[in-house]
């Protein structure tokens, strides 16, 4: 237990030290404030947009940004230490591979969690002062929780990559490909299957396929809670036949636990 805490606090301090924490928090805060003030401008409106349109725009942006940030934060977590030689050294300490993995996850997860809560939370508070607190915390609360889960899911995915490869540059490349796949290619492919292939995908089938992409699950949860007027694309189709929020949240959590378990297994079989 002490060992896990020691690793976690080191990872957390690393995140503070190399300005990851400050940058992520600032990006999130600026993003959400900017969108809430100027979001309506795109549709010709003036002043603050509606809360649901703010959340909708935020979700669309967060779904690109958060996975990228999480992957960049964690892709070299293991392979970096392997190249430096400290991974081998750490494993000669009274520290199991599982403890190391968990410690890193807790530390880096805390960075993402706090940055999300502070960044989006501060924006929520400011929007609240501007246009009343009613509904703001409920909408932002759900958004912050799911954004955190999304970040944690991609940290776990990054660990699988970081443990599976032996070179940092390779890990970086694969991390970018994974990001590209989940935020762009996946949706395009689903859309193509939906439109291009007759009877290729039923609506229910579509939703089921989207469970294989944590980014889509994130969007489903957030957008399903909003007025559907602000939502379009594949998501709009999916929302109509969406699962309950509990099921979707469970799937989000599974997207954290399954890659972590995979990372643990790959780690156990890794040769140093």
């Amino acid at each position: 237990m002490n060992a896990i805490l020691a690793v976690a606090s080191k990872e957390f301090q690393d995140g503070l030290r190399n300005r990851w924490f400050v940058s992520i928090t600032a990006v999130f805060a600026i993003l959400s404030l900017g969108l809430s003030y100027y979001g309506a401008a795109a549709s010709g409106g003036e002043g603050g947009g509606s809360l649901s349109s703010t959340i909708a725009s935020l979700s669309s942006l967060a779904v690109f940004l958060i996975p990228l940030i999480a992957l960049l934060l964690s892709y070299d977590s293991f392979v970096g230490e392997q190249e430096a030689g400290t991974l081998l050294l750490l494993l000669t300490y009274p520290l199991s591979k599982g403890q190391l993995l968990l410690g890193k996850f807790v530390g880096q997860g805390a960075i993402i969690t706090l940055a999300t809560a502070l960044g989006f939370g501060s924006a929520a508070v400011m929007i609240g002062f501007q246009s009343g607190f009613e509904g703001v915390f409920a909408a932002f609360g759900l958004f912050i929780v799911t954004a955190t889960l999304l970040g944690l899911a991609f940290i776990s995915v990054a660990y699988v990559i970081s443990i599976a490869v032996n070179e940092k540059s390779k890990a970086a490349g694969i991390a970018l490909l994974v990001w590209f796949f989940f935020v762009l290619v996946f949706d395009l492919a689903v859309l193509a299957a939906l439109v291009g292939v007759d009877d290729g995908l039923t609506q229910q089938g579509l939703v089921n396929v989207m469970m294989f992409n944590p980014a889509d699950v994130f969007r489903l949860i957030n957008l399903a809670a909003l007025d559907s007027g602000d939502v379009n694309g594949v998501i709009a189709v999916a929302i109509n036949s969406s699962q309950s929020i509990t099921v979707l949240m469970t799937i989000m959590v599974a997207w954290i636990l399954v890659p972590l378990t995979v990372a643990r297994v790959v780690f156990a079989n890794k040769k140093l």
């Binding site: 060992a3 020691a6 030689g85 009274p94």
Partner: protein, 312 residues
């Protein structure tokens, strides 16, 4: 017989086709210092990893502190093992004291040892600086401080003196001797370390995953029957006319004698009044190393496939 700290019996390790270690047997007692020599790829690092419990053996038995290093019970023993890997570069953005505190926490070592060890390796003045500003030697000293954490009962040091200046090397050997006196067993792993002879009790020479020689330096010299070289000054004319000594004279005027003939030869030399200086040089570790390596290569060439039994 006191229980061995490290006990290996016919340990082999295979990576697919590659035989990284082949039938290694070793007993390391408490307070014993073993030099583990061999060139790159000889199996030194694999052997260390097996002792540390990072690699499993393919066959053979190994116990560390009387326990299988892979077992759950061996877990707490790791606090009594110190390891300095080859080419380790610590967290660059942390300061020296932060790096050492992290490792101390992982080993559940009291914090005060951090300052003591930094003092011991002479890094106190730089402990608040980031490791990326450290020179090669300073990094190596930080690594040593890390290995010394928790007063280990078993120390494995991979190329410990690389990058150290002569003073730091001397201080390093002092630390080794002190730990040895406290009963720590130490394995020093290297190509060949100049000046290591006085500090090791036994040497093991690895080549191609086999132990081609193991024993104390005296035993190894005996087996290798490398000559002791005696240089004299002021009596070269007398030497050539002395029937006993003349036969030992080599081209450069020095005498090459076997270990057992050393004393009688020296007595003979001392009987000449003209002698002004004499130096006696036993085969160095490096010469022994070369001898056993070339020996092993020769035998390998003779019988490529048949197993070669280690000298000891």
């Amino acid at each position: 017989m006191t229980a061995s700290i490290v006990s290996m019996t016919n340990v082999s390790k295979h990576f697919q086709q590659l035989k990284a270690l082949n039938n290694i047997s070793l007993q390391l007692a408490e307070g014993e210092v073993l030099g583990l020599f061999g060139h790159n790829g000889a199996g030194k690092t694999t052997m260390m990893k097996i002792i540390l419990g990072i690699e499993k053996t393919s066959s053979g038995d190994i116990t560390i502190f009387g326990r299988d290093p892979q077992s759950k019970q061996a877990w707490q023993d790791r606090r009594h093992i110190g390891y300095l890997p080859e080419n380790v570069s610590f967290y660059d953005h942390l300061t020296g004291v932060e790096v050492l505190s992290y490792f101390a926490k992982l080993k559940s070592v009291p914090r005060r040892q951090v300052a003591e060890l930094l003092e011991l390796v002479g890094l106190t003045h730089a402990m608040q600086r980031q490791v990326k500003t450290y020179s090669k030697g300073m990094r190596q000293r930080l690594g040593l401080a890390q290995a010394f954490l928790g007063e280990p009962k078993l120390l494995l040091l991979d190329e410990p003196t690389v990058g150290l200046d002569p003073t730091a090397t001397q201080e390093f050997y002092h630390s080794v001797d002190r730990l040895k006196q406290r009963g720590a067993s130490i394995i020093l792993c290297s190509h060949v370390l100049p000046g290591v002879e006085q500090h090791i009790g036994r040497a093991m020479i690895l080549s191609g995953g086999r132990a081609i020689a193991i024993g104390s330096l005296a035993q190894l010299r005996e087996q290798a029957s490398l000559p002791v070289i005696i240089q004299t000054q002021g009596i070269s004319a007398q030497l050539n006319s002395d029937p006993l000594l003349a036969s030992f004279i080599k081209d450069n005027g020095s005498l090459h004698v076997q270990e057992h003939e050393k004393i009688s030869t020296l007595k003979q030399i001392m009987s000449y009044d003209g002698i002004t200086d004499v130096s006696v040089e036993a085969a160095s570790l490096e010469q022994l190393y070369q001898y056993y390596l070339s020996n092993a290569t020769a035998i390998k060439e003779l019988s490529n496939a048949t197993a070669f039994k280690g000298v000891a």
